[in-house]
């Protein structure tokens, strides 16, 4: 099961960056995100998998597809990337991945205590909003302010300029 999911992830992420039709790239990205949610289900983190499905696969991919439809013709094909860029990109990826994989295969990972915490929604909510030990209320507040700022910024940037519009 794990190898099926990771095969889907690797093949679809390769196709995402190599396909020449942008809408297909978005659909392959959706496949990658769904397979990642499957990995989270395998690790028994149901809440993370649900967040992945709703926010990533549901929200961000739909946003990307919307913007593709607003800015492209469906039949638009990319021109092929020029050769120097291709060589640079592939060599950077190969060198980096070889180095990282060599490092992590030689590093001894030591498993922690074996008592598994039962991961349920109540536990996550309590820890996320507690101020005591293992409390995450400060990053929670920070991320909420960041999301609010991003929402306002997106509206302000995408808003049409009234004066310019009347000139045109």
């Amino acid at each position: 099961m794990f190898y099926m999911f990771s095969g889907i992830i690797l093949i679809c992420s390769l196709l995402t960056i190599t396909t020449r039709r942008i809408l297909r790239a978005a659909v392959y990205l959706l496949c990658v995100l769904l397979a990642t949610a499957g990995l989270y289900f395998m690790l028994k983190y149901q809440f993370m998998a649900a967040v992945q499905l709703t926010l990533y696969a549901g929200g961000i991919v739909v946003l990307i597809i919307f913007s593709i439809l607003l800015t492209h013709h469906i039949s638009h094909l990319f021109e092929k990337p020029d050769l120097t860029k291709l060589i640079m990109g592939i060599s950077a990826a190969v060198i980096g991945s070889v180095m990282v994989i060599a490092t992590l295969l030689t590093h001894p990972f030591q498993a922690g205590s074996t008592t598994e915490l039962p991961v349920d929604m109540t536990e996550i909510g309590n820890q996320l909003l507690s101020t005591g030990k293992n409390g995450y209320v400060l990053p929670f507040e920070l991320i909420s302010i960041l999301l609010l700022a991003a929402m306002i910024a997106a509206i302000v940037i995408a808003k049409k300029d009234k004066n310019k519009n009347s000139e045109i």
Partner: protein, 105 residues
């Protein structure tokens, strides 16, 4: 061990996914495709956090919280980036990165 799969296999998958994202970020010229490559990178980091949490510290929830925050930041980043992309498309009628240097003042 979860179903007999060692930790390294998860890490190799996420590493390959990360560097596929880096490669796509370098070779593409279209802004939306570069945004998709960034989503791949963030997603692979998420896998890393969650797997470390499950295998090395199963009695805590830190990795899960970091993944949640990364998902939130990815959502914010995607919304702002798409607003910018749509604005650029209105001005320039295409969204290749070479043309965006007109935004410099």
């Amino acid at each position: 061990m979860i179903q007999g799969i060692p930790l390294e296999h998860f890490l190799i998958v996420s590493t390959l996914m990360f560097f596929i994202g880096v490669c796509g970020f370098i070779i593409r010229r279209n802004l939306i495709t570069m945004l998709m490559a960034i989503e791949l990178i963030l997603n692979s980091v998420n896998i890393n956090f969650v797997v470390f949490n499950r295998y090395l510290y199963p009695d805590q929830l830190q990795g899960q919280f970091f993944s949640l925050f990364i998902v939130g930041i990815a959502a914010a980043e995607a919304s702002v980036a798409i607003a910018l992309i749509i604005n650029i498309y209105r001005k320039l009628q295409n969204i290749d990165v070479e043309n965006v240097n007109e935004m410099k003042y």
